[in-house]
Structures are given as structure tokens and as C-alpha cells.
């Protein structure tokens, strides 16, 4: 590398990291949200990996989900979250164009999508609880069908989907707060709430196939 290039690189480093500027070109709040998302992503990946670990070390794992109601419910829930992510993008776009009324409407749509997700998920939980699934025991019917399965199906199911549900709930409350106060927020605040919402959507993209689709096939059994 020539000395000229060295001097140029040095200039860039002092200009960006010498203080007085935002080296990432994002505000400190947005950077904080990104760092929180990274740490939260590690939490979720740890939980999903532990679930896979337990499943791989078991002789058998129940695959009880039939097309109706579980798979159709979870697929519709996925569609709800994806659509609400899109409406969130539209809200950020409207806010960038300083169109607050429209931003507020899109935010409301996003909250509706999240609410639909929550309602469907709670119905789904009630379904499996009625079936007899508990955190540390399987329904009698499943225990008969998969005799070598450990009783941890419920624990992994309730822990992972429960934590995700909690994230959706807090996300919906957060978005509601932003929606009500939109006149007093900066554009970046709307963007930050959007980052959180998209992250919740992103986590579901892994929870859905691993928890639901991998437990689909009703005839195969095995783990």
C-alpha cells in the first residue's frame, strides 16, 4: 500500500472516530436498539439450539401436529406477522415523508396484525392445553403413540413460543405508545420501533419451521 493511501486511511479514521460525529451515521438510540437486537437474537438462538439438542439426544420426539388446527393456524400467524412487517415499513416510509396521519394509520394496521397473531396463538395454546399437554408431561394419547419420547415437548414448546409471544406483546405496546405520541417523536424513534418489530417477525421465521413444521408429519414418528 502506498503512503498516500495510508494518509487517506488515517484521515478517514480521525474524521469518523475522533469524536464529535456519529461514526455509524445512526443515532445513539438506534445503535442501542441494534445492540439489544443482537443480544436478543443470541437468547433466542440459544433456546432454539437447546431445543434441537434435546430433540437430537432423544430416542423419539412427538410429531403430533395435524394440518388442522395447528399447521393452518401457525401458517396464518406467519402471514399476519409478515404482513404487519410490511405495514411497519409503510409506517416508517410515511414518517420519513413527514406524513404523520398516514404513519399513524399504518402503525395501527401493524398493531392489528400483531394482535391477530396473539389471538390466534392463544387459541392454539388453549387447544394443546385442552389436549393435555403440560410443560413436563405429555398427553396420555401421545405418550402411548411415542412411548420412548421424553416429556420435554411441552417445556420446549411453551418456553420458546411463550417468550416469542411476550416479545410480540411488548412490541405491540411499544408501537401503540409510538402511535399515540407520534407528533412528539422524531423520525428515528419510529424507525427504532420498526427495527424491534421486524426482529420479532424474524425470530418467528425460525420458531415456525423448527417448532411447528418439524413436528408436522403425523405418520412418521421418530425424532
Amino acid at each position: 500500500m502506498s503512503s498516500e493511501a495510508h494518509a487517506h486511511a488515517g484521515q478517514v479514521i480521525t474524521a469518523d472516530w475522533g469524536g464529535g460525529t456519529l461514526p455509524y451515521r445512526v443515532g445513539h438510540k438506534k445503535l442501542g436498539m441494534w445492540l439489544f437486537i443482537v443480544s436478543d437474537a443470541m437468547t433466542f438462538s440459544a433456546m432454539l439450539i437447546v431445543y434441537s439438542y434435546v430433540r437430537a439426544s432423544s430416542d423419539e420426539w412427538p410429531t403430533p401436529y395435524e394440518f388442522y388446527p395447528s399447521i393452518i393456524f401457525s401458517t396464518v400467524m406467519t402471514l399476519c406477522l409478515l404482513t404487519s412487517s410490511y405495514t411497519m415499513v409503510k409506517a416508517v416510509q410515511a414518517s420519513a415523508h413527514n406524513n404523520l396521519r398516514s404513519a399513524r394509520r399504518w402503525l395501527f394496521g401493524t398493531i392489528l396484525g400483531g394482535g391477530a397473531f396473539l389471538v390466534l396463538h392463544i387459541i392454539e395454546w388453549i387447544n394443546v392445553i385442552d389436549h393435555g399437554l403440560r410443560p413436563f408431561s405429555l398427553p396420555a394419547e401421545w405418550a402411548q403413540r411415542w412411548p420412548n419420547a421424553p416429556p420435554l415437548f411441552g417445556a420446549s414448546f411453551f418456553a420458546i413460543t411463550g417468550l416469542h409471544m411476550f416479545h410480540v406483546l411488548t412490541g405491540a405496546i411499544y408501537l401503540g405508545w409510538i402511535m399515540l405520541r407520534i407528533k412528539h417523536t422524531r423520525h428515528e424513534d419510529v424507525e427504532i420501533s420498526g427495527l424491534y418489530w421486524h426482529f420479532v417477525d424474524l425470530v418467528w421465521m425460525f420458531v415456525f419451521p423448527l417448532i411447528y413444521l418439524m413436528s408436522f408429519d403425523p405418520t412418521a414418528g421418530g425424532h
Partner: protein, 205 residues
């Protein structure tokens, strides 16, 4: 080849050409190593040793190719895929109408369409009787594509500074990979249990 080299000489010094040439050569050697490892078939690749060798070979190839890539970028021959954001989107002001917001409605709609399409494929995949390993690989692969689409476009990272991307993404990938260190133990404890059951059956006889 010689024509390429002679045109390259106009841009680089003599020792630079040598360095770039050596780096490309070494990167090629490591890529070839990864390729020979792949030729052992899917079962050989998916073992711990196979994955380790492939990952190390690919990382070494990446390390060596990064030097020629940096040379090219310095001379403007390789465009930075991540555009540099100019300034922070500030408070809403009168001129906020021209606040920068990359991406159009059409772009976001097509991203949404792609996400829905991939979800549909995942659900359909559950219907086909494929082996568990193939199904898991396909599901995780599709989910990673979906995650990348969400991060890049919905979360806007595609339009942020490269320095932000490099601060956030590699560390996350490395930490998640490190979590997998324990994973081979799951198969081991499974196999151990099978041996114990077998011993118990023989003792009962």
C-alpha cells in the same frame, strides 16, 4: 492471462502484482481443498471433521481473497455494495420532505412477496416425505434467506454504513456458531443410552 496481467501492471506496482497473484493462488488452493472435502459425499461433509475442514478452508480462502479485493476497491474497480448513508435522519423539520428514505413501495412489496413465497414452500415441504436431515437443512436454509431479506430490506441494514453492518453481523454469526460447539454431545448421549439399554437386555438374559 498475459493481457490481463499487462493491463493490471498499469494500475499496480510490480510487488503489488506479485502479492495479488500469490493471494489469488493461495485462495484457489484453499477453495480446491474445500472442494475435495465436498467430494466425499453429503454424509462425509456433515460430520464434525468434514464441517470443520470445509469451514477452515473457506475462511482461509476468504482471508486471502480479501487482499486483492481491497486493492480493487481502493482503485474503484469494485463497488461497495453498501451505500454510505449521509448524515443522521434528524428531527422532523420543514424540509423533512426530502429526508432520505431508500427503497420504494415496489421494492418492499416484492420483498414481502418473496417472504410469503418462501413460507409457502416451507409449508409444502412439510407434506413431502423427505428424510429428516434434508428437511431440516432445507427449512433452515430457507429461513436464513428469509432472515437475510428481513434484515437487509425491512430493517434497512442494506442502506446503512458498512461499518455498522460489520459491527453487528459477524459477531452474531460467530456467537451462534460457538453455541453449536456442544451439539455433537447430543448424539453421544443418545448413543450412550442405546449402549446402556443393550447391556441391560444382555444382563437380563
Amino acid at each position: 492471462m498475459s493481457r490481463v496481467l499487462s493491463s493490471a501492471r498499469g494500475l499496480f506496482g510490480k510487488q503489488d502484482v506479485l502479492l495479488v497473484f500469490l493471494c489469488v493462488l493461495l485462495a484457489g488452493v484453499f477453495l480446491a481443498l474445500a472442494a475435495t472435502n465436498l467430494s466425499g459425499g453429503i454424509s462425509g461433509l456433515l460430520s464434525i471433521d468434514g464441517l470443520f475442514l470445509t469451514a477452515v478452508a473457506l475462511t482461509m480462502a476468504l482471508v486471502f481473497i480479501s487482499i486483492p479485493a481491497m486493492y480493487l476497491r481502493e482503485r474503484g474497480m469494485l463497488n461497495n455494495p453498501f451505500t454510505l448513508g449521509e448524515g443522521v435522519p434528524a428531527a422532523r423539520t420543514a424540509e423533512a420532505a426530502d429526508l432520505h428514505f431508500e427503497g420504494t413501495t415496489k421494492l418492499f412489496l416484492s420483498v414481502l412477496g418473496a417472504l410469503l413465497f418462501l413460507t409457502l414452500i416451507e409449508v409444502l415441504l412439510a407434506y413431502f416425505k423427505v428424510s429428516l436431515l434434508v428437511m431440516l437443512t432445507l427449512l433452515i436454509g430457507l429461513s436464513l434467506i428469509k432472515a437475510a431479506l428481513i434484515i437487509a430490506y425491512f430493517m434497512h441494514l442494506r442502506f446503512e454504513r458498512l461499518s455498522l453492518v460489520l459491527t453487528l453481523i459477524p459477531i452474531l454469526c460467530i456467537c451462534i456458531c460457538l453455541l453449536f460447539v456442544f451439539f455433537p454431545d447430543s448424539r453421544r448421549s443418545h448413543d450412550l443410552r442405546a449402549v446402556q439399554v443393550k447391556d441391560a437386555v444382555e444382563e437380563a438374559r
